[in-house]
Point group: C2
Chain length 366, copies 2
Amino acid sequence: MTVGILGAGQLGRMLALAGYPLGLDFLFLDASALTPGGQVAPILCGSFQDRGLLGQLAAKSEVVTFDWENVPVDALRALHPKVRIAPSVAALAVAQDRVQEKQLFGRLKIPTTKWSAVESLAQLQESVRTIGLPVVVKTRRMGYDGKGQCVVRSLEDLERAWEMLGTQPLICESLLAFDAEVSAIGARNARGEIALYPLSGNLHSQGMLRLTRAPYGGAALHALAAKYLRRILREFQYVGVLAVEFFVCRGRLIANEMAPRVHNSGHWTIEGAVTSQFENHLRAILDLPLGRTDPLGHSAMINLIGEMPERGRLLRAPGVHLHDYGKTARPGRKLGHCTVVATTARRRDAAARKLLKELALPIRIP
Amino acid sequence: MTVGILGAGQLGRMLALAGYPLGLDFLFLDASALTPGGQVAPILCGSFQDRGLLGQLAAKSEVVTFDWENVPVDALRALHPKVRIAPSVAALAVAQDRVQEKQLFGRLKIPTTKWSAVESLAQLQESVRTIGLPVVVKTRRMGYDGKGQCVVRSLEDLERAWEMLGTQPLICESLLAFDAEVSAIGARNARGEIALYPLSGNLHSQGMLRLTRAPYGGAALHALAAKYLRRILREFQYVGVLAVEFFVCRGRLIANEMAPRVHNSGHWTIEGAVTSQFENHLRAILDLPLGRTDPLGHSAMINLIGEMPERGRLLRAPGVHLHDYGKTARPGRKLGHCTVVATTARRRDAAARKLLKELALPIRIP
């Protein structure tokens, strides 16, 4: 049974590695064979718009999923009559547009920051007057890892933001002074079973996720996140893994964005939970029973960005798990991650601090 | 960095799946591409004796290992000047011959059953007189999963055994009334670091391993097994994972046989130990630091033999981990395994019993 995956990045690679033990085969479609996924499974090389290739993928696959939320929706719509697609194109389309995403959150009564859609400099100035500085200006589409966004603290910043981003439809959002950033990750299969992971706490710098710790926060926060996540899963009759990032502000959860796929902040589940997010995504899209999501301890996941530490040096740290995506090093590129799992949060933080020091990574654990 | 693997069975497949996250690539050599390993990594198809193919494997690999202990020693010796081989050909050669294996155990003062080498019916009759019935008669070479052996309880059995096996060099061993069968599995890297897993307890039927539970036995038994295992690892300046099967007889350990490779009775380490036997084999042969071998709870591994249970039915059991080797079903063929990990031995046994019942497998947990 073959699972087709649009996009052969590290997420696709980890999906395939989680799926081989289930007896599944994989087929990727991506622009290059020299991708993390293309190293571990067959790949069709070409454009996501290539109807011929999409047809081949559909013909060979039981179900098609994606490892990147910016897969062209039109391409998926063309595939749809030929093969099952999960998560649905409807969920993907919303996740591709920050305005539709905010409207969804609003409709489902999930709190967001103040925001407005912006298509002109005049609208941007008006938004800032209504929302109040500081704001963050983002492209509505195609932003990831902090790309396509600009923090505006003054009217001068405003001009600069417009110059940088103004060629595209934008969204202007209030910049929150938050206490923490967390992710809620869950899976739903076609028969409606839902399995939710414990919340994870995330540290970003320069727009990129650097560190995730899980479980994070108390029962009340977890229950609140679970309530919001379930609303979205049910809204779409969602099938697969969904990740929602929230800001924590004085005990409240403010939705930031959602990703209709396995998520970097869920990589800790490979060693840190009974069933990984990757396996549960596959179970969900194949309508298999979902696996248990209980944590196996206290996990920390550290992203390896820009250059890979020497393998032997990293593996010398007791209990560390390495995930090397097989990519060529390049500044700012996510090349891999590593995870430690400990019996207490304190031991986990101590192990993570030691590892961060040994790898000379400039991340401070609060 | 590519690891070459002679043999692309399920052990090779699980080595590759454990090695991809370390950023490694794999290249198999086996008779057919339709092997468990050939489904997850490139494969050179042909005979282990094909010098041309062996040369290609050597040229592309950093190190060559094997997933089957009956790889022809001559083929490996021919490879040796061109590429590093681990474990060593010397260790492999001993493991291929039950007589050399027994001699090794004797030399290292590791207890064995009474035994003698047999090349004629007269020698077999003499052996039985010396050792005393019951005995088990085995081919010196190429036996696995109970194949190539015959239990002899009477003089009639003796004739039958000779008719069945007498065309090959044999060994005659005293048949022990043992309390349990256990495996000791450990890894050693080139710089001499050793990491040992806790003992596992094994249940066989019809010569095949059906169930493994770990950890097994108390500290004294573990210490004794560790002492014997270290002797063998040091004897060969061994590099890689080594498995030794023992009988437990009133607190003593009687060595049965050794395998110079990852072992079926170590599959529980994938989910049940901090670092799996597969990852530690790769770390050892690449001279990387060995990973921690601590158990993460109490594990039971059940072999799926002859036919695969329906996937959805198996995955419905909470916390069960499936490993489907992607093989065609055939009576008596190992097609996969599944593992449960619990917080106590009692809970582990309860979960395993439930699973055995659901899968309708005729194994009784003592």
